[in-house]
């Protein structure tokens, strides 16, 4: 009998990749539940479909690359990518669109760069941006949240299933019932003051109209849970939220027609909380040093606001994340901490001559 001699440390830490990914999946559940409550079964169906495709495409590439299947498939990273992408998609996007996005995220965004730990970009956001620039019409068709008068929600499971997979039957006409999100409404507004705008659009008033706030609160709760379990440090989320808060306060514009919306509106709209706690905290593609993470998150917050207020899209978390992913290595070079025994930290690239 051969005893494998292991070197210390012998402690079995709780922070294996699998464990961390399980926690992230768990923490996203409140947000997923909220989105399901407000937008019907579509989101849930999308999540399942995305996970299936992600696992299938990961398995395919692992087989081609001759890597062990079960080891990489069971670490849960593909599932987290699929989940994040599914949460970002409108609830009733057709099945082929999801398939293109997820397979692109896993195959090109992750595996072609060398698999887990080697991808410079957040795979889920890469898939999302691909879909957003390729199919702008489908990607902006959000359903009316349930609880709004005059807009019947899509509550039935079969209705949602048939809308996503038209192979089985006729679904609802998403184009006819889709509705602008609050970010869209504020963005497109140029003639009404904020009070008039609020009065005009029921989507911003009733319980259902506050759907985005509830969804963001749910993600905030999930994110705080992850912070409590020390899955990531507070620096990146706080950096992003603080920068977004400062920017939206500086360029608020009051309640006139040129207003970009209040700071609270920006903090609890769109993908702010999902981005702050689940997307920019990706340990692979974000900055690694402590100060680096603050800068990384802060720049994302600024960019998100710039895109929302003056850019061409209603929300900008995905674009901001990808842009800062590109800058993450440089941020790391200039924020290396001082090592013990040295007076000054190393900064910048090593000198070559």
């Amino acid at each position: 009998m051969a005893l494998v001699r292991q070197t210390s440390p012998h402690a079995r830490g709780p922070n294996s990749t699998q464990q961390v990914m399980k926690l992230v999946l768990l923490a996203a559940m409140p947000g997923l539940a909220m989105q399901t409550i407000f937008f019907g079964w579509g989101t849930l169906i999308n999540v399942v479909w995305c996970v299936l495709i992600a696992l299938a495409s990961e398995a395919l590439i692992l087989k081609i690359r001759k890597r062990p299947l079960s080891f990489y498939l069971s670490d849960g990273t593909a599932m987290v990518t699929a989940l994040l992408l599914a949460l970002a998609l409108p609830p009733l996007v057709p099945w082929w669109l999801t398939m293109i996005g997820v397979s692109f995220a896993i195959i090109i965004g992750k595996q072609l760069y060398g698999g887990l730990g080697n991808n410079p970009f957040n795979p889920a956001m890469l898939g999302y941006v691909l879909l957003l620039i390729s199919f702008p019409a489908e990607m902006t068709q959000w359903l009316p949240p349930s609880g709004i008068e005059g807009h019947p929600p899509v509550n039935g499971f079969m209705e949602a299933l048939n809308s996503i997979f038209p192979l089985f039957g006729q679904g609802v006409n998403v184009d006819a019932i889709s509705m602008a999100t609050p970010l869209d409404i504020v963005r497109e507004n140029s003639s009404l003051t904020i009070n008039e705008l609020w009065a005009e659009n029921p989507v911003l008033q009733s319980f259902g109209g506050k759907s985005w706030i509830w969804i963001n609160v749910a993600y905030l709760a999930g994110g705080l849970f992850l912070l409590y379990r020390r899955v990531f440090t507070w620096h990146a989320p706080v950096g992003m939220l603080a920068a977004l808060f400062i920017m939206s306060t500086l360029f608020w514009g009051g309640t006139g027609s040129a207003s970009h919306g209040s700071p609270l509106f920006h903090l609890f709209s769109g993908a702010t909380m999902l981005g702050a706690f689940f997307i920019i905290t990706d340990p692979v593609s974000s900055a690694t040093s402590v100060r680096g993470r603050l800068i990384f998150g802060g720049c994302i917050g600024v960019l998100v606001y710039v895109i929302r207020a003056w850019g061409g899209y209603p929300d900008g978390v995905a674009f901001a994340t990808l842009l800062m992913n590109m800058a993450a290595p440089m941020i790391d070079y200039y924020t290396q901490p001082r090592t013990y025994g040295h007076d000054k930290p190393k900064k910048g690239l090593p000198k070559t001559d």
């Binding site: 293109i100 090109i108 691909l130 620039i133 390729s134 199919f135 702008p136």
Partner: protein, 262 residues
């Protein structure tokens, strides 16, 4: 030292050199090697990665790609011939400005010709036609090849390099058109006249436009795949070549004569 003096003395006897060149039409290189270099081994688009700007910018449909490919091919050929003709008169110090002027005049000719005969395509390609002048392939071939070789091989080299570039351009164009719009050979009549009006092949009916393939980022992705495929094929060829060679003997050739051999 001896060689240098030999070269110096050889220079005045230029006619002798010309005679040798005339004897073998392509100088020291065979036509097959020039063709192989241009089309595969040293392909300007896949290996040298030259001229990426027009390559990625206009390869969103076959007709655009073919139009720019032919234009580039003609400019490379023309500039190679002209540079080769004047290669003994131009000194090293002024060679680059001279080359650039030659290339610019050929590009202007092509631009005017396209404006005259394929006006629609000329408008679609827009800035990319004048930009042929900045295509590194042309200056590269003029400096590296045409200025050192006689006219015929230089012209053939220009043709093959341009053809290799145009081939990849059209291949990329067809992939992007197929994935982006679901068609092939759409509106070829812009380039080839009314003959080609009905050439459009609709591969997928009711295809939803996949904008990513039509926009420049798609070009980068598909270009990457093309380069990867070429590298795989090269690797396979290399492996096959190695397999054919006899395996070199490994290990010591001395015969062990003492001790126990287990």
């Amino acid at each position: 030292m001896v060689e240098k003096t030999a070269e110096e003395t050889a220079e005045p006897i230029a006619p002798a050199g010309e005679a040798i060149e005339k004897k073998s039409l392509f100088g020291d290189q065979s036509a097959a090697k020039i063709a192989w270099d241009g089309l595969w081994k040293n392909n300007p688009a896949l290996v040298q990665l030259l001229g990426l700007c027009p390559l990625l910018g206009v390869s969103n449909s076959i007709v655009n790609a073919l139009g720019l490919g032919i234009a580039t091919m003609l400019v490379v050929m023309g500039s190679n011939i002209a540079v080769s003709l004047i290669r003994h008169q131009v000194t090293d110090a002024i060679r680059l400005p001279v080359f650039v002027m030659i290339i610019a005049s050929f590009t202007t000719c092509i631009e005017l010709l396209m404006q005259a005969y394929t006006y629609e395509l000329y408008k679609i390609l827009g800035i990319f036609i004048p930009l042929i002048v900045t295509n590194c392939i042309i200056l590269g071939r003029a400096d590296a090849y045409a200025s050192k070789h006689p006219v015929l091989p230089a012209a053939f080299d220009g043709f093959m390099m341009g053809f290799g570039f145009a081939l990849i351009l059209v291949l990329l164009g067809s992939i992007r058109e197929l994935i982006g719009q679901g068609t092939l050979f759409a509106s070829m009549d812009l380039l080839l006249g009314p003959v080609a009006e009905n050439w459009t092949i609709v591969v997928f009916q009711d295809y939803k436009q996949f904008l990513f393939a039509i926009l420049p980022p798609g070009a980068f992705v598909f270009m990457g795949f093309l380069i990867a495929i070429k590298n795989i094929i090269d690797k396979k060829i290399e492996e096959a070549r190695k397999a054919r060679e006899p395996a070199a003997q490994v290990g010591s050739k001395r015969v062990r004569v003492t001790g126990n051999i287990s």
